[in-house]
Amino acid sequence: MSLNVLESSKVIVCLGTGGVGKTTAAAALGYMAAKAGRHVCVVTIDPAKRLADAMGIAEIANTPKKIQTSSELDLWAVMLDPNSTFDELVQKFATSEKQVEKIFHNSIYQNLTENLSGTQEYMAMEKLHELASDPRFDLLVVDTPPARNAIDFLNAPNRLIGFLENRFFRLLISPSQSVFRPVTFATRMLLRTISKVVSAQVVSDAVEFFQAFEGMEAGFKARASEVQNLLSQDSTSFVLVTGTHKDTVDEAIYFASKLDEFKLQVNLIISNRITPYFGDDFDTEQVLYPAGFRENLEYLTKLRSAELVQLSRLSVIASGDSHIVVPLLPHDIGSLSEIQEIGEVLVNSRSTYDNSVSP
């Protein structure tokens, strides 16, 4: 095993936009680490069905399951359930069973995980925090939700706390505050307008929501700073996963700049699905090829060089030896052996983008 992140990390966080093979990369990294004797759990969220089947986690479950491998690796996987993860958090921080019930029944709470952006990211981090103290594992590989933008992921805990601490609303509705600050005429007018524009239900749900969460922010806050702390440890590595298209490369560079703002750094870049290199002997005069064959090679060569130009832009965020390029395989990835295949590429052909991988 020659990949540093697999040797030295306790946590590997895979970041990237949707559709670039992030889950596959996470699974492949986990597989190779387990092969080298580490005790690994891959935390994933919403994997493609084939991949979930391959890992044996087709069902959403909040507890890790061991992946059945031929060589008995200590490799586990869990598909994150953001709703029940949030429920567990609420149960942990609530002061009474009554408070738990009230929160669970509130419609804003019920919609929170799916509709407040950043909440799923936060729950992925929460799961990470929980598994970090699980003695069964010494490496966690986290596949993050496809981020709309980098800030969603890094800001996730703060975002939820910001929502819970929504000061404007809290001042309006918190009963303890209203003793000192009676609801004014202006406030009543405002609430009435909101009721009219959206619905009275929203106002009463919101009031109920913030009342139910009263007193829990401190717990959430402490937890968020623990998560933040875990992320900034030296033993936590960040892996950026990209494709070869301009937009995914743009996104990766943006991601790296955001990590930098949080004083975190990219330890490895994995660029998936580059067109393989076939050689450039266009002149094979002995053989008569059918029409289109020569053009096909020219076409693939041209595509590959356009892809390489894009990938070379990533040198601003990582040195060559921390950038692995994985060729596009002619078949879909959907079984453990194919995950292993990608893993072998990651570990063995690690090099810059001029590696010549033939099919």
Binding site: T193, A206, H245, F282, L300, A306
Partner: protein, 303 residues
Amino acid sequence: MPSRADSDQKLQTGKNFELFAQKVLVIVGKGGTGRTTVARILAEVATKAGKRTTVIAGASGTFYVNREDSLLTFASLEPGDVLIDYLDEHGLGQLGKRLSSSGLASIISTAIPGIADLLVLAKIKQMERSETADLIIFDAPASGHFLKLISTPKGLAEIAAAGPLQKQSKEVLEMLTDPARLGVAFVTAAEDTPVKESIETMEKLRQEAGISPKALFVNALLPQMREIGGVAGSEIRKNSSAISRAAQYTSQRASAQRKREAMAERAFGLAPIEIPLVPKVELDDDDIKNLAEIVEPQIQVAR
């Protein structure tokens, strides 16, 4: 680019298929499958046919900014902004800035999931009702939040129950379910996951909202290199030259693609509109013009 071995032009099988027959065309697809490419191609085909076209897009709007003319206009509708505008217009204007920064908009959109998407659709409905465009192409966001809204039976109904938005959602629903007014075009890559997800979304739309797909675009297809198979190809297969290996690679990927394409075709019951892979990482206006020429004969456009 190599010529495609099977360039026979398939026409959609639906009765009187004409892609731009209805005013609104929603382009739906998983991120990275070429939704924006299709929107750009269709804008090109439509304006060439003399249609006044409005493209509605988010970040991909930059592609249209320099191309706006008397036929092509561009509008950006970001759900978050539309919600804040709506709140502003309805009496929360003076407090608008302060409210949105203190999170009123996020509370409302969490309390009423899909409200922002509903308001986007309501804006589109307004445009449809006005006479400013013959065709509205909506490059829908990848997350497809609004799809969830219309493909769950309770989605829109729940918002409708919220009172003041009732009229809006009723009118939006009318537009969505009227094939004479709105069509949904799917875009997929010919790969396992995107095809399966497209089929899933399509079936949900059909069952829950009664919306049938208008068209199916299959993007980034490779040429098939048929000569490589069988006895005739055996010499080529033995040969280890770059040309031969490249041909075998393309052939293998192309046949995997055609299997996925056929799977999509069966599920959708529509002849796919095929778009070849262009060997580039970003398409410029000339590429789009070339692709428009390939797409145009595959769709019916009334002049």
